[in-house]
């Protein structure tokens, strides 16, 4: 008996969306609906929230800024190369201007002299913006515990993802980037909203 009954068709009004036909009873179906077939409108549409759609779009084209400092920069260049192809994530367009960039991959050791330009670049980026600390030198100062290297870039910018290794393999950097995408899709806000700069 249950198999004979057709599945109930969910209508737009079940979602609280009023189509214009309800408000204007005498209007016939639109050209779009006619080309789809009226009854199939709901089956031809995908429903989502605006935030999720925007996040999906942001994830699929998160452009990094060219902030290569040291050895990790060479591995960052190699993810753009054809073996580890970053273009399949829409990220091969490394923007030189921080105004056009979404993601700051701090790749390499940050000297105190470089800390000021780093913060300036970060400030120039428009929100939403993310920071990946690539390599141990950016995450925590690495093997250089001395007078001139900033012990972790999270002292001056809020960091979303830390990637260890010296230098990270390209696959490790891709894992970090993919986790950032997943975190963003799941709704986790960028780091500057969650925590400030480490003390």
């Amino acid at each position: 008996m249950a198999d004979d009954e057709p599945k109930p068709v969910t209508r737009l009004r079940d979602y609280g969306l009023q189509s214009e036909r309800l408000l204007w009873p005498t209007k016939g179906p639109s050209q779009f609906e006619e080309s789809l077939g009226v009854d199939e409108l709901e089956r031809a549409l995908g429903l989502t929230t605006l935030e999720k759609a925007v996040r999906w779009a942001q994830t699929k084209s998160m452009w990094p800024d060219t902030f290569g400092l040291a050895c990790c920069a060479i591995e960052m260049m190699s993810i753009v190369s054809s073996r580890y192809d970053l273009a399949r994530f829409g990220m091969e367009a490394f923007r030189s201007s921080p105004r056009q960039a979404d993601l700051l991959i701090v790749s390499g050791r940050v000297a105190h002299k470089m800390a000021e330009p780093l913060r300036q670049i970060y400030d120039q980026m428009l929100e939403p913006k993310w920071v990946i600390a690539m390599g141990v030198c950016a995450s925590s100062g690495g093997m250089f515990n001395n007078y001139t290297i900033l012990q972790g870039v999270d002292r001056i910018v809020p960091v979303d993802i830390y990637i260890p290794f010296c230098p990270p393999r390209p696959e490790a950097l891709m894992e970090g980037i993919i986790r950032l995408h997943e975190a963003h899709l799941a709704g986790i806000p960028p780091a500057y909203e969650r925590n400030g700069v480490a003390t």
Binding site: G68, C71, S82, S96, I121, N146, P167
Partner: protein, 423 residues
């Protein structure tokens, strides 16, 4: 501080700036002009050379003043290495020139070995030669890919990195790491050469000349490449020597000098290779020198492979138990080995007092290590002579009479790695 400012012009016809050799000053007629714009190529810039800051004065499109500001990647290697034992110190030099990393390791390890007066087994020296030549190819590929990328030949980047990935696969096969391999040890190599390396290396060596033909086909006679590089950034031979240039920059200016041939280290006197020299000293000649060097390095790798394949089963590290860790199997049976292992790991081996300067031909030029030891387990003073540091001193001379579009070509052709410059 400075009492009398001396004239730095040392000979007639030099293009080295007069007042300060590394700063191109505005010519007197433009000093009060309003048409001169000072532009800052800040530490973060689109070209892929790392954190070099150039402050240039532009009169329209011409570069009339230039000075370089470095130090944005100063890591304090020399001071840090003074507080680590020699064993731990070997990880640091690699990160100085992070593109030709094994050459830096080699120069430090050679300096320590010479102070210790150690004999290193033949297998180790041939393998070191092989890896350093592969690293030279790797470094020149990165130079070629990034220089071409900046001048607009964007697809060269992908082609060069395809070969680079093969070389990094070879490094990973031998040492376990793609970059910063830490394979050279005081006394030889850290581990034996794994089986399967020689056939893979042969495959690469057979393929490489075809790849070089591809690159030449794309760039050598390319009209755009020629117009952007021929005659740009000239550096005469006398200027190059006065500015201390070495390596491809010197050979492109017409001076026939290569440490591998003229002051051989490792086994370079037993292999056959040519040293390319070109006369003009412009960007195009530096490009040609590096392309030819890749081919010559390929030949050297082939010759090293021929020798190494006959050395199966030979020792790869020296036998001196006071310096080299004993093999692990011995630790279970021999008391002396256990004590040596303990002393070397905790306190470190002691190097006799003395000072030494060792130089090798790295992909960028003469890379040297000056080591002062006080007889203890930690170095007293380590200094690395960085070829990129000296190459950047030539920017002011090379940028005379160029346009702003040539600026990137010139800086790229000097092949300066900022880690090497700032140490």
């Amino acid at each position: 501080m400075a009492t009398v400012v001396d004239k730095t012009q040392i000979y007639e016809g030099t293009r080295i700036p007069e007042r300060v050799p590394t700063i191109l000053d505005l010519p007197p007629e433009l000093r009060d002009s309003e048409d001169v714009l000072q532009v800052n190529f800040g530490p973060n810039h689109p070209s892929t050379h790392g954190v070099l800051r150039l402050i240039v004065d532009l009169h329209g499109e011409e570069v009339v003043g230039a000075s370089a500001v470095i130090g944005y990647l100063h890591t304090g290697f020399e001071k840090t290495m003074e507080s680590k034992t020699y064993w731990k110190c070997v990880t640091y030099p690699e990160r100085i020139d992070y593109v030709g990393y094994q050459n830096n390791e080699l120069v430090f390890v050679l300096a320590v070995e010479q102070l210790l007066e150690m004999n290193v087994p033949m297998k180790a020296t041939w393998m070191r030669m092989l890896l350093c030549e592969l690293n030279r190819i790797h470094s020149h590929l990165i130079y070629l890919g990034t220089s071409a990328l900046e001048l607009g030949a964007i697809s060269m980047f992908w082609y060069c990195f395809r070969e680079r990935e093969t070389i990094l696969d070879l490094f990973e096969l031998v040492t376990g790491q793609r970059m910063h391999t830490r394979y050279f040890q005081v006394g030889g190599l850290a581990e034996d050469i794994p089986s399967g390396f020689y056939p893979e290396c042969r495959k690469f060596v057979e393929w490489m000349p075809h790849a070089l033909d591809d690159y030449r086909g794309l760039l050598d006679k390319n009209q755009i490449w020629l117009e952007r590089t021929v005659g740009v950034g000239k550096l005469s031979a006398a200027d190059a020597i006065a500015l201390g240039q070495t390596g491809p920059n010197l050979r492109a200016s017409g001076v026939d000098w290569d440490l591998r041939r003229d002051q051989p280290y490792l086994h370079y006197d037993q292999v056959d290779f040519r040293v390319p020299v070109y006369p003009n000293g412009d960007v195009y000649d530096r490009y040609r020198v590096r392309m030819d060097e890749m081919l010559e390095s390929n030949r050297i790798v082939r010759q090293c492979l021929d020798r190494l394949e006959r050395m199966e089963g030979m020792p790869w590290i020296a036998d001196d138990r006071k310096v080299v860790l004993p093999p692990r199997e011995e630790l279970h049976t021999s008391m002396e080995s256990l004590i040596h292992h303990f002393k070397i790991v905790t306190e470190g081996f002691r190097v006799p007092a003395g000072e030494i300067y060792v130089a090798i031909e790295s992909p960028r030029g003469e890379s040297g290590c000056y080591l002062v030891s006080d007889g203890g387990p930690k170095p007293w003073r380590v200094h690395f002579r960085a070829p990129s540091f000296v190459a950047l001193e030539a920017t002011a001379t090379c940028l005379r009479d160029t346009y702003v579009a040539d600026l990137i070509a010139v800086v790229g052709s000097l092949d300066a790695v900022m880690g090497d410059t700032d140490r």
